[in-house]
């Protein structure tokens, strides 16, 4: 759509406006850690923020969403990048440690279901069929088990490891419960390796983040997903406006409420939310609707803590009016 150059210029303009608004020169550190999925966005934001506030040291680590939460809840980081919402156990630790967190969704990732390019029989799958294939105790072993006019060849399933946020979201959305999945699929932690796996196996079926499909369109065939309103393929448009359902997953950052008292963290968080739309699409994710970012900014200003995804410590869902 827009060339990299244009978006870069737009970003610089936005930064300039932000810095004019910010006025003072800030100093200090902002430390982020967490998911490798959210990392590219955080990196982009940190990079742009450096241009605006060069004296603030922003660092980003990649310990994984869970590992990042551990450090976050030990008070060692200011912001946690998370590819899944915070979980019950982590919320308990937070309240035990008296740490309040602010949950902000920053982008959509459209989970793409793909097959091998030589697979000529699959064009779309319904959510029901996906469930039948992937649920725990599934008896589907061949393509014919899914639709009777498909070949009687074994289905070879590929997916991320059982402790990744991608896996979590997929199993929760398709199978109804996080962590519920058949165990006998070929797992790999590295999404590039999954691409290689599917590209090399005619009978393969797998899923991963949209960016990995977008960079390997010649090696993969995209499957349209029918969530009840006809088959929809994930594109920037369909993920953003909610048509590609239910596999558009939000990715988050969690900010420590007490860290926000530091002006550099406050400035960075604001900058993040203001620029997330632009920067997320640059690195391969889909921006949320503008209204959500507006509400997110308000949430930060009001210091509204809590999560929309758990009864414990509940807060309103910023994405609620979307679907």
């Amino acid at each position: 759509m827009f060339s990299n150059r244009m978006i870069g210029l737009a970003g610089a303009l936005l930064s300039l406006l932000s810095s004019v608004a910010l006025g003072e020169v800030l100093r200090g550190t902002v430390s982020l850690d967490g998911s490798s999925t959210v990392f590219p966005i955080s990196e982009a934001v940190a990079e742009e923020f450096l241009a605006v506030q060069p004296r603030v040291r922003v660092t980003v680590g990649v310990s994984g969403t869970g590992g990042g939460f551990k450090k976050f809840l030990a008070g060692e980081t200011d912001i946690n990048d998370a590819s899944r919402p915070i979980k019950g156990k982590e919320i308990s630790i937070a309240s035990a440690q008296n740490i309040e967190f602010i949950e902000i969704p920053v982008a959509y990732d459209g989970l793409s279901v793909t097959v091998n390019p030589k697979n000529h029989w699959v064009d779309s799958l319904t959510v029901d069929e996906l469930k039948r294939i992937w649920q725990p105790g599934s008896t589907v072993t061949t393509w014919r088990d899914v639709r009777s006019h498909w070949p009687d060849e074994p289905i070879r399933l590929y997916g991320p490891g059982t402790d990744s946020g991608t896996f979590d979201y997929f199993s929760e959305t398709i199978n109804g419960k996080s962590g519920a999945s058949r165990p006998d699929y070929t797992a790999n932690e590295d999404d590039n390796a999954l691409v290689q796996g599917i590209a090399g196996d005619v009978n393969a079926l797998g899923y991963f983040g949209y960016a990995y499909y977008a960079s390997n369109k010649d090696k993969l065939k995209l499957v349209a997903i029918d969530g009840g309103n006809g088959p929809v393929k994930p594109t920037e448009k369909t993920i953003n406006n909610g048509e590609y359902a239910p596999l558009s997953r939000p990715i988050f950052i969690y900010i420590r409420k007490d860290s926000l008292d530091r002006p550099e963290v406050q400035a960075f968080t604001q900058f993040y939310i203001e620029n997330a739309a632009l920067l997320a699409s640059e690195v391969g994710y889909i921006p949320l609707p503008i209204a959500v970012y507006k509400r997110a900014l308000e949430r930060v200003q009001r210091r509204e803590s809590g999560t929309a995804y758990h009864q414990q410590n509940a807060a309103p869902d910023l994405l609620a009016t979307q679907h």
């Binding site: 998911s35 310990s63 994984g64 969403t65 869970g66 590992g67 939460f69 551990k70 809840l73 590819s83 899944r84 979980k87 156990k89 982590e90 630790i93 725990p136 070879r156 490891g161 059982t162 402790d163 990744s164 946020g165 979590d168 419960k177 962590g179 519920a180 999945s181 165990p183 006998d184 699929y185 070929t186 797992a187 790999n188 932690e189 590295d190 390796a193 290689q196 796996g197 090399g200 196996d201």
Partner: protein, 307 residues
């Protein structure tokens, strides 16, 4: 010899030297203590969490169960698939690295000229430093496609590729350390054997290798230790699917790979899923301990020291 001023009376000199000697000995002992303390800390950490784990999971299920599904519902905590993965990759890697590494070491120390040696040995040592992730991608983009032309049923992620690539990775360790060990064997032993009419093959296998056995086996040990602890290359090449299959053509997961997956992944802290990593690590620790004790035993029986 240390420079001691000769004008100082001998008795004082001796006492000073003894005193200095004592200090140095203590310093060295403290350094050794570092390793001992490290082991103690590791054991303590592992055992501590393990106790919590075995409160919730029966040891029988852990050691004898055949399904390792700790992070899904319904969960199952049988460690055998991981153990099998580790054994497969380690054994396969050893099968590749030991013959090739040893043969290279023999060539370098017994047959190669100084010039060849000064070229090949540094190359091998540089290759010991290539990051493991590179080997992983090498397996995925070069080795596996090559293997698939020979074995069409081979899955894209398979144990065979994993074993091969780990073997290649630890090969330089064996080659370079064994070469050192063989070169250190006194030359007069070789000359004596040749004088008795032995061929170079016989000299190498009957005289040089037994004399250098200690160093050679130490190199095997270091190589196998590295192979056991290898994660990224294995994960990329062999996937991360705990699997008890006996063909080498399917994806597997090793104990170490699982430990990394949980440590750096998305598993929430506390909770039984996190404790599994300590149970697996402790098990691995015990296995390597047994391996070391056995190899110590073999070494002490077969090693020949000259002088």
């Amino acid at each position: 010899m240390s420079a001691v001023h000769l004008s100082i009376p001998a008795s004082i000199r001796r006492r000073r030297i003894a005193w200095g000697e004592g200090i140095i000995k203590t310093l060295l002992a403290l350094c050794t203590l570092v390793s001992v303390v490290t082991t103690a800390v590791i054991i303590f950490t592992l055992v501590d969490e393990c106790l919590g784990f075995f409160d919730n999971v029966s040891p029988v299920e852990f050691f004898l169960g055949t399904r390792w599904v700790p992070l899904l519902e319904p969960s199952s905590y049988g460690v055998l698939p991981l153990l099998w993965g580790t054994l497969t990759v380690t054994f396969g890697a050893a099968l590749i690295a030991i013959p090739i590494g040893l043969a290279s070491a023999i060539y370098l120390s017994e047959y190669a000229s100084m010039r060849v040696r000064s070229f090949v040995k540094p190359v091998l040592e540089v290759l010991a430093g290539i990051p493991t992730v590179v080997y992983g991608y090498f397996a995925l983009t070069f080795i596996t496609p090559l293997l698939r032309t020979m074995l069409p049923d081979l899955h894209v992620f398979n144990a065979l590729s994993g074993a091969i690539v780990v073997g290649i990775m630890v090969l330089p360790t064996i080659a370079t350390l064994s070469d050192n060990a063989l070169r250190a064997v006194p030359d007069n032993l070789r000359q004596a054997a040749y004088a008795l009419g032995a061929t170079s093959y016989e000299v190498t296998t009957h005289v040089v290798l037994p004399a250098g056995l200690s160093g050679v086996m130490a190199s095997f040990l270091l190589a196998i230790s590295r192979a056991i602890g290898e994660t990224m290359a294995v994960t990329l090449a062999a996937g991360a699917t705990p699997n008890l299959s006996f063909t080498f053509q399917e994806s597997i997961q090793t104990m170490t790979a699982y430990i990394v997956q949980v440590s750096l992944g998305d598993t929430p802290a506390g909770g039984i899923a996190y404790q599994t990593l300590f149970a697996v690590a402790a098990y691995l620790f015990v296995i390597t301990l047994l391996l070391n004790i056995v190899s110590q035993f073999i070494l002490n029986r077969y090693r020949e020291t000259y002088e």
